[in-house]
């Protein structure tokens, strides 16, 4: 456990990856969104999608954790399990900080009526439909899921090379297309859309959480035999 904590501390030794870059992305996409809101000459609500940007950065962080931190952690005599749990917890901490900013930002937007120009960067009604906690959970799960996807992809790449990763991605693509085919075959599109609509942000969060937990397990199994 002690060494798992050290893995977390290790990731924060160089604050660039987990603190400064996400902050710059967040601040940058926020300022850009506000500027664009100001440019749009309408009084109707303006919703931005740029709040996704820092979430996508966690995909890159997941890749880096594998390609850069993992080989170094091996030189630090850390077991793969210690490293993995530490890396996941680090991503969790980063996601929590991000979520705190998002929720606070959402409150401020509500108080100021969208920064006085009806522009909404943090507060997207469909995400906030279950209140601030629900919105926070949504962002947290998405951030962690993206981290795990990045981490797992990089692990496959490290273990099985570019061809291996491509085959896995094509395989997942095929499975998804197969699913689409199945839905069409069963004439269930109406049902699926209805279900998607009714599930809302919370339903999406729940499913994303299931996928995240599954992938986290698969990623660990992939990591167990990975050579730095």
């Amino acid at each position: 456990m002690n060494r798992t904590l050290s893995v977390i501390r290790m990731q924060f030794v160089n604050r660039q990856t987990y603190v400064w870059i996400p902050l710059i992305i967040l601040a940058g996409s926020f300022v850009l969104s506000l500027l664009i809101f100001a440019l749009i000459p309408t009084d109707a609500p303006k919703y931005g999608g740029a709040a996704q940007a820092p979430l996508w950065y966690l995909l890159a962080v997941g890749i880096q954790a594998m390609t850069m931190s993992f080989p170094f952690s091996q030189a630090m005599s850390v077991t793969r399990r210690e490293f993995y749990v530490g890396a996941l917890l680090t991503a969790g901490i980063a996601a929590l900080v991000l979520v705190a900013v998002y929720v606070l930002g959402g409150f401020v937007e509500q108080l100021t009526g969208g920064w006085g120009m009806n522009g909404w960067y943090f507060y997207l009604p469909w995400i906030w439909e279950a209140g601030p906690l629900g919105a926070g959970l949504f962002y947290f799960v998405m951030a962690v899921l993206l981290f795990i996807i990045g981490f797992w992809s990089a692990t496959i790449y490290k273990r099985f090379g570019g061809v291996g990763l491509t085959i896995v991605l094509v395989g997942i693509g095929l499975a998804l297309v197969g699913l689409l085919w199945l839905v069409g075959r069963m004439d269930a599109w109406g049902f699926v859309w209805e279900w998607l609509m009714s599930a809302g942000a919370m339903g999406l969060t729940a499913w994303a959480a299931v996928v995240a937990v599954l992938l986290a397990g698969i990623a660990f199994l992939t990591l167990r035999r990975t050579v730095p």
Binding site: R3, V13, F72, A75, S77, V78, T79, V227
Partner: protein
């Protein structure tokens, strides 16, 4: 396999096969506590692979590896007592040497920051420069500093001198010996610069094409040959009938290295003839004795630097 407290590493019939190559071929050896080992061999001989498997960074195809009597894989108890910074070690993106040392400090309980600071000075390492911008020598210095300052019970140095100039290499050898004397520990030094490390290592393990071809005390290896120096004619008379592995002449003086230990009788004859026995180059000896294998598997002085 029996476990002796004095054997910190035991390797039993270790084999590592990559798709088309056999990197380690049925290797067995053990490592004694608190000794300095030279793991010698050409580039690609299997040195790094063996060290990687010992530290559970890589996996054996077959065979058994015990460190402190236990399996090292996913074994924090065992791994925490070892340090292996590989020659091609990767560091976190945008990390500086200062970052790397701060991280190492978190994991090695016996880390000595003072020693690290002193080594940074010695190697004139720019501590705030990004590691990916460092020269090959500076990169080696980062690995060497982590290896030395970690004071791990088993420390591996993987071709630690790559890119280091002669002065920096000497600093490394001096500091290693100095710190080893104060804090004895097991050191495994992989190298193809045999003569440079010859005075440092107490034990020699030579690995060639994935097989161990020599595993002995350095002194015992040295005794396997002798270098006879003196007047060419007298030297030649003495070495007649012996297996000569090296010959050097300057004017009328020759130095001839012959295989086989010298008997007391030999020494008496040498003294009577006014010949001297000079030191044998470990490198010469290893190169010559390994050249007996069917094809040219000699250890060369200058391996390609990756």
């Amino acid at each position: 396999m029996t476990t002796s407290p004095d054997l910190v590493v035991q390797v039993d019939h270790l084999t590592k096969r990559y798709r088309e190559t056999l990197a380690v071929d049925d290797v067995s050896f053990s490592i004694e506590k608190d000794k300095i080992y030279g793991l010698l061999g050409r580039n690609g001989a299997g040195k790094t692979t063996v060290m990687s498997i010992l530290t559970a960074q890589n996996f054996a195809t077959s065979g058994d590896v015990r460190v402190f009597g236990e399996q090292p894989y996913e074994n924090a108890r065992v791994l925490g007592r070892m340090c292996f910074v590989r020659e091609s070690q990767k560091y976190p993106d945008d990390a500086t040497p200062t970052h790397a040392f701060a991280m190492a400090r978190l994991f090695f309980p016996r880390w000595d920051q003072k020693l690290a600071d002193r080594l940074i000075e010695d190697f004139q390492l720019p501590p705030k420069k990004r590691i990916k911008k460092l020269s090959r020598g500076q990169l080696s210095a980062v690995g060497v500093i982590i290896g030395l300052a970690s004071r791990a019970e088993i420390t591996f140095f993987d071709e630690p001198y790559l890119g280091l100039d002669a002065v920096a290499r000497q600093i490394f050898y001096d500091r290693l010996l100095e710190d080893y004397t104060l804090h004895p520990r097991t050191v495994i030094l992989s190298s193809h610069l045999i003569d440079e490390v010859a005075n440092l290592i107490e034990k020699v393990i030579v690995i060639d094409r994935g097989r161990i071809i020599m595993d002995d005390d350095t002194d015992a290896v040295r005794d396997r040959a002798a270098s006879i120096v003196g007047d060419t004619a007298i030297v030649e008379a003495f070495v007649a009938g012996r297996e000569v592995i090296h010959r050097e002449s300057l004017g009328r003086v020759s130095s001839v290295t012959v295989l086989g230990a010298l008997s007391p009788e030999d020494r008496r004859r040498l003294a009577a003839a006014g010949l001297e026995v000079g030191p044998v180059s470990l490198q010469q000896l290893i190169v010559r004795t390994t050249q007996h294998s069917p094809s040219d598997t000699a250890i060369t002085t200058e391996g390609a630097v990756r």
